[in-house]
């Protein structure tokens, strides 16, 4: 695993596409409001896929790479998915506001501006949103990938009958229980 490069792209594309799709859908996309659930989960799933297709032990760095790639793919897919759903999301938000104002609930800080379309729907805001999402999802994806290695990474290579016992790479494999 040290010098041989694992195939990061395929797991990142699969998991990133699913995470981006879930992030872009109405209602379901709100899962990202719970600590970027879809992105962290997607990155962890990408690590699971990578672990299944890689013979060696995955390290934290492998998880971070595939997680970061998953985050980038997810940001792009989310942006693409949200374009045709924009009008639906607006209508949905408007209904929620009407319902909530009937019972006197508090509104999100900038919801009025969003509903009035005061510049928030312009290409500039779209690009800003894509850029911010890509940056945040990359960081969160790297984090999710490292968590994925801890949860799904192989702890040791299966013992070969005639070979000497395998050694764990010196760094960043899932650690001893003294951590943190």
């Amino acid at each position: 695993m040290d010098q041989q490069k694992p195939a990061y792209l395929r797991p990142a594309l699969i998991a990133g596409a699913v995470a981006g799709l879930l992030s872009g859908l109405p209602f379901i996309g709100a899962g990202n409001c719970i600590c970027c659930l879809w992105i962290v989960g997607g990155a962890a799933v990408a690590v699971k896929l990578l672990a299944a297709s890689t013979p060696g032990i995955l390290k934290a760095g492998d998880g971070a790479i595939v997680g970061a790639l998953t985050g980038i793919v997810a940001a792009v897919v989310e942006a693409v998915v949200s374009i045709p759903l924009r009008s639906f999301n607006m209508e949905l938000a408007r209904r929620i506001v009407e319902k909530a104002s009937e019972i006197g609930g508090d509104m999100p800080a900038n919801l009025d501006e969003i509903l009035n379309g005061s510049g928030m729907t312009s290409p500039g805001w779209f690009l800003l949103g894509l850029f911010v999402s890509a940056a945040v999802f990359t960081v969160v994806g790297a984090l999710g990938g490292s968590i994925g290695v801890s949860l799904f990474g192989k702890k040791a290579l299966p013992a070969a009958p005639s070979a000497p016992s395998p050694t764990t790479p010196p760094s960043a494999a899932p650690g001893p229980p003294d951590a943190a």
Partner: protein, 172 residues
């Protein structure tokens, strides 16, 4: 991996976290002072990662912070974990925390969040902050390890490729 490179990743992460936390507080501070353009920009920056529902946010100068109480707890916990990182882990070695510790710190927030979504329980903002904080403290131990190892892996592979190229040139 050298302790210096891990320290560098840790320092960069610490700087980024301070900026991120400052931006969360800056949004309502600017809004209260009439700078609605920059405030709106900052609220928009945090919109993809938080619902920003006002009654679930702490308030500063009459305006909600840019993220909800739970998200603020996660980021504050992340900052606290980063401060503890050199004491608990040090820079000499990089290893991931055990999965069971991650699950133990995730469970309170997951249960609180799930109960809220199912309508079984409406937790006060302080509890949301606390459960988020607990979860956030373990995250830097994954993030710093992952990113530091990422750079090490890239460096090692680049060096191996260069060695291979040199070897094949000699053969020719």
């Amino acid at each position: 991996m050298t302790p210096r490179s891990v320290r560098r990743v840790w320092l960069l992460t610490l700087a980024g976290t301070v900026v991120w936390l400052a931006a969360i507080v800056l949004a309502p501070w600017l809004a209260a002072r009439g700078a609605s353009g920059p405030a709106r920009f900052l609220y928009a920056v945090f919109a993809p990662v938080c619902h920003q529902i006002a009654d679930r946010c702490f308030v500063l100068d009459g305006h909600p912070l840019a993220v909800c109480g739970r998200c603020l707890g996660i980021y504050a916990g992340f900052a606290a974990g980063l401060v503890l990182y050199p004491i608990l882990r040090g820079f000499a070695r990089v290893a991931l925390p055990p999965a069971r510790l991650f699950i133990a710190l995730t469970l309170p927030m997951a249960l609180d969040g799930a109960a809220g979504i199912l309508g079984l329980w409406r937790s006060p903002i302080g509890l949301r902050f606390a459960t988020g904080f607990a979860w956030g403290t373990i995250l830097p131990f994954y993030f710093v390890a992952g990113v530091a190892d990422l750079f090490r892996t890239r460096r090692e592979r680049a060096a191996a490729r260069a060695l291979e190229r040199r070897g094949s040139n000699k053969v020719e």
